[in-house]
């Protein structure tokens, strides 16, 4: 899963972080690269659509009261270097400590978690990219644009692949990844005394950690 872009939208729809990762190279460049204003519009549009999406819940679902399981399984070592590399690089403490900020162990979390994004927009599939949205409890949105394209042709024998639906697996991977970015955010943005809430993120440490995670993923 190659991540093309990462956006963070605050709870009032303002874009507070945006990076393009064009390390893949093989992709054709955009005809007209978007300027920062376009991205601001894009972020607030997504924010609005997100709210609309929750208004559109079909009547059948409202009536049937079916319980949907929002648990996202934990996918190990996504974006964090594997345990082996960890052991060799550690000459003692130091390089190991603070590796994951205030998170103990070799990964940010080890348990499955419940998605807070229950009725809002979660995924947008297009011919060229897939967009994933992870929403936190406080309404902050982490948006990843991946170059992976979801298959549009149905499997001839859908029963065979019922449990490994590529679409839902992709959502789980993306949720795991974005949750880790959220963990980084909680460390390197929220614990920065010079950061003012809801404002654009300028921390170079956050930048560095996000880049490292993207490098590990692709």
């Amino acid at each position: 899963m190659a991540i093309q872009s990462l956006l963070i939208v605050n709870k009032s729809g303002g874009l507070i972080y945006h990076r393009n990762f064009t390390g893949t190279g093989s992709h054709e460049q955009q005809k007209q690269p978007l300027n920062s204003n376009d991205y601001l519009i894009l972020a607030s549009t997504l924010h609005g659509v997100f709210a609309i999406a929750s208004q559109l819940t079909p009547k059948a679902l409202q009536l049937s009261q079916t319980q949907i399981d929002y648990t996202i399984p934990y996918i190990p070592n996504l974006g964090t270097s594997s345990g082996a590399a960890n052991a060799t690089s550690s000459g003692g403490r130091g390089s190991n400590i603070g590796k994951l900020g205030s998170f103990k162990g070799d990964d940010f979390f080890k348990d499955s978690f419940t998605s807070w994004n229950k009725s809002g927009l979660r995924q947008l599939c297009t011919d060229q990219f897939t967009m994933f949205i992870y929403q936190t409890m406080s309404g902050l949105k982490f948006i990843a644009i991946s170059s992976t394209v979801m298959p549009q042709r149905q499997d001839l024998n859908p029963d065979r692949n019922k449990n490994i639906n590529p679409n839902n697996l992709a959502i789980q991977v993306a949720d795991n990844f974005l949750r880790k970015v959220y963990c980084l955010y909680s460390d390197y943005v929220m614990k920065d005394p010079f950061y003012s809430m809801e404002m654009p993120i300028k921390s170079d440490l956050f930048e560095k950690k996000v880049n490292a995670m993207i490098d590990n993923i692709s």
């Binding site: 992709h27 054709e28 460049q29 079909p58 298959p151």
Partner: protein
């Protein structure tokens, strides 16, 4: 695996057909071309329109980038846009990954047969300027079209 509703929008942002099933256990339940769904249709079109503009802004290369599906935690919206600006929209269970083929079939075998090839059906559902830009109210009421669509979609309802 279930489908919840089916919509057609024309190029004037009007909803020209809607069908909503209210019980997944009963494929004859629900409403067709309901007045109550007018607001929902507008919201749905607004969402699709906004996301389509994002999709096209972010497109790369020469090929046009088309939106395929939109997913929330509860349901998934499958979209299919024709060259003439018609939108075929299907709301389904969020687990279902793709209904592209279904939508393509509805367009090519049902819509084209019973609406486009039908000389008695209007070519454009907005008859004058006032009915464009989302102000239209005319719907596809063709019996053959509705029956054919019903036959095709009802097995999917409670699947």
């Amino acid at each position: 695996m279930a489908i919840y509703s089916f919509w057609i929008f024309d190029k004037h942002c009007n909803c020209i057909f809607d069908r909503e099933w209210t019980l997944t256990t009963n494929s004859t339940s629900g409403t067709t071309n309901s007045k109550q769904n007018q607001e929902t249709a507008k919201l749905l079109y607004g969402m699709i329109y906004s996301l389509r503009s994002i999709t096209q802004k972010l497109s790369r290369g020469l090929n046009k980038n088309e939106m395929r599906s939109i997913s929330t935690g509860k349901y998934r919206v499958h979209t299919y846009c024709t060259a003439s600006g018609l939108w075929f929209v299907l709301l389904s269970d969020f687990k279902q990954q793709s209904y592209s083929q279904v939508l393509e079939y509805i367009y090519s075998s049902i819509y084209v047969t019973y609406v486009a090839n039908n000389l008695f059906s209007p070519y454009d559902f907005a008859e004058n300027e006032d009915e464009m830009r989302g102000q239209g109210f005319r719907k596809i009421t063709n019996r053959r079209f509705i029956d054919s669509l019903e036959n095709f979609l009802s097995p999917l309802v409670g699947q």
